[in-house]
Amino acid sequence: MAERTLSGIGVTPLSGVGTVIWYRPDADLPEPPEPEDIDAEAELARFEDAREAAEDELETERARTADRVGKEEAAVFDAHIQFLNDPQITDGVADAIEGGLPAEHAVQETFSSFVEQFENMGGRMGERADDLRDIRDRLVRVLSDAERTDLSSLPTGSVVVAERLTPSDTAQLDPERVAGFVTVTGGRTSHAAIFARSLALPAIVGVGEELNAVEDDTEVVVDGETGDLVVQPDDEQKEAAAADTDVEIRHDPVETADGVDIEVAANIGTRADLGPAVDRGADGVGLFRTEFLFLDRESPPDEDEQFDAYVEAAESFDAGRVVVRTLDIGGDKPVPYLDLPDEENPFLGERGIRRSLGPDADLFETQIRALLRAAGSADGARLSVMLPLVSTVEELRRAREQFESVADDLTEEGIVHEMPEFGIMVETPATAFMADQFAPHVDFFSIGTNDLAQYVMAAERGNERVSDLGDYRQPAVLRAIDATVSAADDTDCWVGMCGEMAGDPDLTELLVGLGLDELSMSAVTVPQVKAAVTETDTEDAEALAARVLRAETKAEVIETLTENQ
């Protein structure tokens, strides 16, 4: 086969070069023996053993996924365990065995009828059909003692190609060995795509049937950014991809080509995110989402538990800063021990600082104590605190008074503490408009582009129907960013950005041109953004920003950025 390119959906801004290994987990079963040769009792016992073994495997994979990817993604294994133990399935298999089938064929038959049923229902049910296939294949494999293709020990440089990858498959992939993966099916928000981003793997999903023509051992380039799969690439294409993959990981802070320091940090949610942040060369943490300490539990974390988490984060970095965002919880996040109100529009309701200054005042005080103590005790990076969803200067003043009053208490109690650097998220249009009034009261702003775009454009995040509006490349969003940075210009207040926009290396020059001092993103794109910073000249960047700010439409913004590349 000569060089050609297939296209799918790129799901990570990374490229890889490697050799195709087809992963075909479906086991073909031999013809079953005659029904009279089946010992139903023995087959039932085999099924019961296999069911238990499969449940053990799922428990292990859940723990591994929770650790490597996140609790939320690991929850998919809970669903699998429940399907596995569903009485309709266990009864169905038992009936099929009684009817004269060996256990593995009984499993095939029972699951296949449910798979078909879900597929015929269309829509979201396709995902449930995938779940059931995954469980069926697992049971059949256990029952037939089949060798499991061990995705965690593939040869270095493998590109895994499959019809689809289940969450359990993806969680096994070792980013140290695998150069990427490509699937026939799947979309940007599929489990496989989310895992790819967490594991920093080049990946393309949804290539379609054409992918079946690519054979084992073929050399390919996986461009996870454009979604292009180059089959039998020439040397030039391989080198370009390798150069992209080998983006140098810079553990030191970077500056622009003309010597302006730009801090490049990582966003973290859980303790598991710290390792990748350090490994990918982040200067520190630009956004530590503390709500993950509070979610999925029966009671709030106490002061010491929080203290430990903040100290651990600061001590993971030798220098730089770790910006801890105080609890940002509201009507859209369930917390069993908080009495969260039912709200028509949780995004416009009592969330973030509004709760911390209101119903969650006690939680807020505990969090402040833990933060002040951690700021005074941690070695390594400096701790900073940041308030979410501020929309008035009064809120900022009241929060600041609380910090000061808690600091006084700690002094009286003789407990070591320190007042950390103090900042706010800029994510409401109110704060962007009033940035000049906020700036003298804070050490820094961090622009949260996901929420800012949502509130500026009145377009809900995550609502596909309005995703074109809720885009941070809309001129109105760019103007809100520009207004914020300009308001801080002649003050000591530095301005950072956390959110997806900061992690897009194609926008680094624009962001430098707009005057951002710090960019914080998911760890995976830190090396690309650091590289982009070093290639940027601030004068050119400012000229680009001025051109982009004159755009009338998002299309014009994109056109101006593309012409510049």
Partner: protein, 89 residues
């Protein structure tokens, strides 16, 4: 004992919410069934296949029917799951 509840999680009774719902239904002794509020059909709440198979979307009303000693507590727990929005990243 029965109750009508509006389903709040964005994904309806799928994936995580369904999994939590079934897990909780299995924690209680009461025998629970659920169905759409506007239909007579009921399915066992302890079965993941049955629960996801209903394909209930956000905003739909479902009917929960429980029988047993802890029926009320069961309904309270299940209602809490159905009326709590999912966490967002």
């Amino acid at each position: 004992m029965e109750r009508i509840v509006t389903v709040v999680p964005e994904d309806g009774l799928h994936a995580r919410p369904a999994s939590k719902f079934v897990e909780t239904a299995n924690e209680f002794d009461a025998d629970v069934q659920l169905g759409r509020a506007d239909s007579d059909g009921l399915a066992p709440a302890a079965s993941m296949l049955a629960v996801t198979g209903l394909g209930v979307a956000a905003g739909e009303d479902v009917r929960l029917v429980a029988e047993g000693d802890d029926a009320e507590a069961t309904l309270d727990a299940l209602e809490a799951i159905l009326s709590t929005p999912e966490a967002k990243q």
